[in-house]
Amino acid sequence: MVIGLLTCEVLEDEMAHMLCRDKDIGKVTFVESDPGKDSIAALRALMGDRLTVIKDVADFRPDPALYLEVLTAMLRVGLHMDKATLKEGVTEQARVLSEKSDVLILGYGLCGNVLLNIEEELSDLRCPIVMPRNEDGSTIDDCVCLVLGGTQKYLDQVRREAGTWFVTPGWLKHWDTLLVKELHCKDIDMVKWVFKKADYKRVLMVDTGIGDIGTLRAGTKNFADIFGFYIEETKGTLNILERAFDQAKNLLDKKERSDNAKRCVGR
């Protein structure tokens, strides 16, 4: 059985963690792309020959001997700066991955409501879609709410300080791409000016427990020093991602039972 996983580059560390620690996953096949190159390197170090890299989704051949494998593709972080590009990118790649998957996890949230109706729009896919959700079943807002543990946790934080810039390993790695290049600022001074105008004051480091805490703290301090923010830390969680993987596996189990039943009836 194959879980397709389409995710944003900003979640590369979290996804690598999920893929490595899940004992049920026999193999990960990564569709080669520029945004995925660091993930591939990280996964190769962690998974060894359980990782396969392919050039194109069409090259993917599922291993019938395995109970579970993951076919994953990663899209570039800057897609969400343009609504149409994000929607088009996610929709297109989801369709491609779904052709080789039994269930597809979309590692995205509402992303400014750009993906609000994505499940409905992809309802014709040959496999079901799973998206990260809040405890009440609503789709998660975005990558920040995802690692904080839900929408309410986000609201609790912005009620304390509305001018908060949240950082995760992914946001720290890609901030220059997102804030200079994708925001079309001519340099960091212009980003500083935009932040000042928007009244950002605090950088909140979200620690989900993955990666090296010292590296995360150093990156957060560097970011805070550049923009003159004060630093706070909060505990994050990967519970929402874990629930999404569990839901995908449950759907696969159901599918397998259903397939078996059909085979028995056919005999």
Partner: protein
């Protein structure tokens, strides 16, 4: 000379030259040009160009922000000499909802409304629901315009509408909502009157409402 000054003022706003916009507004007043005429000929066309550039993806957020700053540098100077009725064409209470600091969209709406004779009470950003309700009761605006860029803070709009109903204020003010994640669907769901995709939509709607 006057036409050249208007041209230069428009240019200063389009390129986001804040100091030059302020200097030219001051110069216009010193030459006894009517501040409303300066606004109509030197400021409004510039913002239309800026808006067009944004639509064409020639301008992005920082450029919009710079032009807005240049606009207000000039407009605030001109306003001191404007003879505007206390209510103008209509009174607008405008702000960003609680938990959100992203106010460029709100500011653009405010710019076009003010430039077109509406009086705006700017509540700023990260504004608690109670503050909107209190201000609606006290200042009796014709319009309440709420904005947010983030999906988690959208619910604050719903609760503001509920608050207006609870306080018996709903039929006293027209409510518009806007911002990146907002849609007509959401507007209807929460019982607001109007959803605008941009500042031009907001202006067109406000003008049509005051004519009713």
């Amino acid at each position: 000379m006057t036409e050249k000054m208007f041209e230069e003022l428009n240019h200063a706003i389009v390129v986001g030259d804040i100091d030059e916009a302020g200097r030219l507004a001051t110069l216009g007043l010193a030459e006894n040009i009517d501040p409303l005429t300066i606004t109509e000929k030197g400021l409004i066309p510039a913002m239309a160009i800026v808006s067009e550039k944004y639509d064409k993806k020639e301008y992005y957020l920082p450029q919009m922000l710079l032009s807005s700053e240049a606009f207000y540098e000039a407009f605030n100077i001109l306003k001191t000499k404007m003879k505007v009725e206390s209510k103008g064409r209509g009174k607008v209470l405008i702000g960003v909802v609680e938990g959100d600091v992203h106010d460029i969209g709100k500011n653009l709406v405010k710019i076009v409304l003010e430039a077109n004779g509406f009086v705006c009470i700017d509540m700023g950003r990260d504004v608690p629901i109670e503050d909107y309700l209190q201000k609606v009761a006290e200042d009796k605006p014709d319009f309440l315009m709420l904005s947010t860029l983030m999906t988690p803070t959208m619910m604050s709009m719903r609760r503001t509408l509920e608050g207006l109903v609870e306080e018996g204020l709903r039929d006293k003010v027209k409510v518009a909502v806007g911002g990146g994640p907002i849609s007509w669907d959401f507007c209807k769901k929460i019982g607001a009157d109007f959803y605008g995709d941009n500042e031009k939509d907001a202006l067109k709607w406000a003008v049509s409402e005051v004519k009713k």
